[in-house]
């Protein structure tokens, strides 16, 4: 009984020091914010990929309605041209019902847009470089009142914005990790100051730097792991909560918080990365402090 008890004693009573008792809570908060920043980074990355996938190799041909030219004839001519073009892999003439549905969010239902001259839309998918389709576009442009829309240019602007958001998310993550490391340093220093007399006694009894460092690392390990795991678990719950409610508020352009398998793996590893940073900074901090206070250095 006595033997077991003696093995678990804390030589440096960090747990009794008010100033450093907050470490697990601070670590939990840092890990929570860090995990959310990382999730935002991943979500933006996924959204960017998804946008590019959706519009890459796609153009929309709009056939405007006017009194002088028969719309159906012009559509037929375009379809014939598309059929003869080598690089076009697939095309779909969008039904009027579907076109109205696309306009609904902006103009309302069929009863409101029914009288509007809604252009006929042809969704064209192609492979290879867009420059290879230039002869096709030239021939289609000869048909009156036809507009070829390429999403790529405006998507690039959106992508720049998304990449900025992504960079901010990653930068926030790095800052949060840095502040977490700083917290460990300050907490370790406070703990060392409070326990200065005990450390002096341990030295006097022949303790090596490694021995004293391990006492502090043991404390940091326990509390950083507890705080880190709690923080990341809370962040995961927040992500799942946001993901559950996101379909109700989501729009095509807004990134969802749906993470893939690898993203979850990274989030699961995050507390241990935080722990490694905490142990490393605590170790550096204590060794620096011990050596700097050595009268014979």
């Amino acid at each position: 009984m006595q033997e077991d008890a003696s093995k678990t004693i804390d030589l440096l009573p960090f747990d009794y020091s008010g100033q450093v008792r907050l470490l697990p809570w601070i670590m939990a908060a840092m890990m929570y914010l860090g995990a959310l920043s990382l999730a935002a980074f991943f979500a933006t990355h996924s959204a960017l990929q998804s946008w590019h996938q959706d519009v890459r190799g796609t153009v929309i041909i709009q056939v405007m309605v006017n009194a002088e030219n028969d719309t159906e004839k012009r559509v037929k001519k375009i379809v014939e041209t598309l059929t003869q073009t080598q690089f076009v892999t697939e095309f779909t003439v969008v039904e009027e019902e579907d076109s109205i549905k696309l306009l609904e969010p902006w103009f309302g239902g069929k009863e409101l847009v029914g009288d509007l001259p809604i252009p006929k839309l042809i969704d064209v998918k192609y492979e290879g470089d867009k420059a290879g389709l230039q002869p096709l576009f030239d021939r289609i442009n000869e048909i009156p009142d036809v507009l070829i829309t390429d999403h790529q240019p405006w998507l690039e602007d959106l992508a720049v914005f998304a990449r900025t958001v992504q960079a901010i998310a990653f930068w926030s993550f790095l800052v949060i990790m840095g502040v977490g490391g700083l917290t460990v340093i300050l907490s370790t220093r406070a703990g060392l100051s409070i326990n200065q007399d005990i450390i002096s006694m341990l030295y006097l009894m022949g303790a090596e730097d490694e021995y004293i460092s391990k006492q502090v690392e043991g404390y940091t390990l326990r509390h950083s792991l507890t705080g880190g795991v709690s923080g990341v678990l809370t962040a995961v719950m927040t992500i799942l909560f946001l993901d559950y409610f996101s379909p109700q508020v989501n729009d095509f352009f807004l990134p969802t918080l749906q993470l893939n398998f690898y993203h979850w793996i990274v989030l699961a590893v995050l507390p241990f990365v935080g722990l490694a940073i905490a142990i490393f900074t605590a170790r550096l901090s204590i060794l620096y402090r011990l050596i700097s206070e050595d009268p014979y250095r």
């Binding site: 006595q2 093995k7 004693i9 009894m205 090596e208 009268p295």
Partner: protein
């Protein structure tokens, strides 16, 4: 065993508080250091256990100049000495047993060895019934005996004590000195700083006298 050669000490840019100290402690000797309060006895002891560095001069221990010891070597030298303080300096969150066990834990002994040695030693100093007592629940004399046990548990070659009886009654003081005497008879070199002339005279061991930073050799 311990040799001071023209050692001087000043704190910061202040005046020298120890001047031209020369000491040569032979292995197995028992020496007192007598002097009034503020004479520099504690500073002299701090120099002996490397807590501070001399401003000048040379200190050797076990035939090594301690200024040449690397940071990695110093712990091994410290394990060869025990130190007892007037204010005991027990770790308040550890029981008497765990306080005494500290030097052995630091030295990396197994738990079973630690338990046996600590119990035996606490029995020797008459505290066999207070193994699990926390320092705050012990009397001054009991705390001093725990501090004594902690200092000697490693079987040090050299034992330093700074006013070890300064905070205990005369009966406890005599008992403690008897423990020092017993340890000396086992071959331990002992150096005790005190201001009690009576105890020094009672035991009759050589006595250095420190006054105004100057050390006078034993007569």
């Amino acid at each position: 065993m311990i040799r001071f050669e023209n050692v001087g000490l000043r704190y910061g840019k202040g005046a020298e508080i120890l001047r031209d100290i020369n000491i040569d402690l032979q292995p197995g000797s028992f020496n007192f250091l007598l002097g009034p309060s503020g004479a520099g006895k504690t500073s002299l002891l701090k120099l002996m256990y490397f807590s501070i560095k001399p401003s000048r001069g040379r200190i050797s221990m076990f035939d090594r100049d301690i200024s040449t010891l690397s940071r990695q070597e110093r712990p091994m030298f410290r394990r060869k000495m025990g130190v007892i303080f007037q204010d005991y300096r027990l770790l308040p969150h550890l029981s008497a047993m765990n306080n005494v066990a500290l030097p052995l834990r630091i030295a990396g002994l197994s738990e079973s060895q630690i338990q046996n040695n600590v119990k035996e030693l606490l029995n020797w100093v008459g505290l066999e019934d207070r193994l699990d007592a926390m320092p705050a629940t012990l009397s001054g004399g009991q705390q001093q005996r725990v501090a004594f046990a902690r200092a000697v548990i490693n079987r040090p070659s050299f034992l330093l004590a700074d006013e070890p009886t300064g905070s205990v009654d005369s009966k406890t003081a005599k008992r403690l000195y008897q423990l020092f005497h017993d340890l000396h008879s086992l071959g331990t070199t002992i150096f005790i700083a005190t201001h009690s002339k009576d105890l020094v005279h009672e035991f009759g061991y050589p006595c250095y006298y420190l006054e105004n930073g100057i050390l006078h050799q034993p007569r």
